[in-house]
């Protein structure tokens, strides 16, 4: 009986953390959702829905390095595998872009899958347009919308180079992302 009660209690706790995470995600509080997911990941590792929401929140709040664990965990359902592949591509593109910007690695010969995420868009534009050139910053125009443009550059924060991507709509800054 005690074991059963304990099981019910743990089940309810898990359900609560998942519900809280989902609410944070739906209310677009991605930073909070990502931190909350990280804090509760240990207890919810086997719940692929929890892990997926956590990873999506981290993606939206620019914590791409945190995707590494979800990528390895998500494998049992078709949806989880799709998300895992999606996160893998973004993480890989981030690492490759970082390598290219810092060390001049040539990305033009690569033909990788892509996503609709801003980092992938900028990665594709950089790989196509910025080959064999090393500038302080790069400005790309969106292929689908001329009014949208992106600025890509490196900035040093605490002795660490960080990738900055800025998105402009009619030359007005609407988004800024920082990756390292």
């Amino acid at each position: 009986m005690k074991i059963f009660l304990l099981f019910l209690l743990t089940l309810s706790l898990y359900a609560n953390s998942k519900e809280d995470l989902l609410n944070l995600y739906k209310n677009e509080k991605y930073e909070n959702a990502c931190n909350f997911g990280l804090a509760n990941l240990k207890d919810n590792r086997r719940d692929e829905e929890f892990v997926s929401i956590y990873a999506l929140s981290c993606l939206e709040s620019d914590h791409i390095n945190r995707l590494a664990i979800p990528i390895t965990i998500l494998k049992f359902s078709p949806e989880a595998r799709a998300n895992s592949a999606y996160f893998s591509v973004i993480l890989m593109q981030k690492r490759l872009l970082y390598h290219a910007l810092l060390d001049g690695y040539d990305l033009s010969s690569l033909n990788l899958p892509t996503t609709n995420f801003i980092l992938s868009t900028v990665f594709d534009l950089y790989a196509e347009q910025a080959k064999n050139t090393k500038n302080d910053f790069y400005i790309f125009t969106d292929k689908n919308d001329n009014r949208i443009s992106y600025k890509l550059y490196l900035e040093k924060h605490n002795k660490l180079n960080k990738i900055i991507i800025e998105k402009f709509y009619d030359k007005k800054l609407i988004q800024q992302h920082m990756y390292w």
Partner: protein, 260 residues
């Protein structure tokens, strides 16, 4: 006397002779099986060779474009491979978000009480809704009738956010400051009470037409209340009036279905 040595030799020869047919049969079987195996292997390798040759021919056919280019261009000149590479369409991966709508949460009993508490809090600012009905021009007011469960003990514990909202509502009633009504609208939107968010954003818009944030909350609430068309209509009018890029982005997101 018997010659035992001679007898033993004869016996040994006899014994060997008796085994010979078995020995011959096993040798024959081994030979035939090895022969068969050898033949079978040879046949397979021949087939493989043929299929590889076929594949090579196919590959050659698919790379016809490369060959043609190579024929035209002198051998020393670099072949323009990247051009051909660009023609290959990239695979676009997308996250699978279907599970979010189907997430099953085993709610514990306490969560039921929590919902009832929230509902009781939501009912309080009803008089303001009635005011809105009189003032509003275009969109229809949304009045929700929530059954209030008579459980006095549940009213003791209120959420901090709702407490904050109630305090701000009191302040707003005294001074009618649009900044306060915008704050209330935002808070209601954050906690998922889109009806009240809509109402307070509407009040803010009536008090001051130039607050971009208020129009955005107003439109977002309309979308959440399944009134996408009205949200689009309102945003279009606001974009025409203010040229707001944020409103324009939200409008495109609503139309494309990115914002639901």
């Amino acid at each position: 006397m018997l010659n035992i040595n001679e007898l033993e030799k004869r016996w040994f020869v006899y014994k060997i002779k008796s085994y010979t047919p078995y020995l011959i049969i096993t040798i024959l079987i081994l030979l035939t099986s090895s022969l068969l195996l050898f033949l079978f292997y040879n046949d397979n390798s021949l087939k493989n060779k043929v299929s590889i040759e076929k594949k090579e021919v196919k590959k050659f056919e698919t790379h016809e474009t490369y060959v043609k280019i190579a024929d035209k261009v002198p051998t020393t000149a670099p072949v323009d491979i990247p051009k051909i590479k660009n023609d290959i369409q990239k695979v676009v991966l997308q996250p699978s978000l279907n599970f979010i709508d189907n997430v099953v949460i085993n709610k514990p009993e306490t969560s039921k009480k929590k919902i009832i508490k929230e509902k009781i809090i939501e009912v309080k600012p009803e008089p303001i809704i009635e005011k809105i009905i009189e003032v509003k021009i275009n969109p229809e007011p949304i009045i929700e009738k929530i059954p209030v469960e008579e459980n006095v003990s549940l009213q003791i514990n209120k959420q901090n956010t709702s407490n904050d909202i109630n305090l701000v509502i009191k302040r707003f009633k005294t001074n009618n400051n649009p900044a306060l009504s915008l704050f209330i609208a935002k808070k209601y939107y954050e906690i998922g009470n889109f009806n009240q968010a809509y109402n307070y954003a509407l009040i803010t818009n009536q008090l001051n037409k130039d607050i971009e944030e208020s129009w955005i909350i107003f439109s977002k609430s309309l979308v959440k209340l399944n009134k996408k068309d009205k949200a689009v209509e309102v945003l279009k009018q606001y974009v025409e009036y203010s040229n707001s890029s944020r409103a324009e982005i939200l409008l495109s997101n609503i139309i494309s279905g990115k914002f639901k």
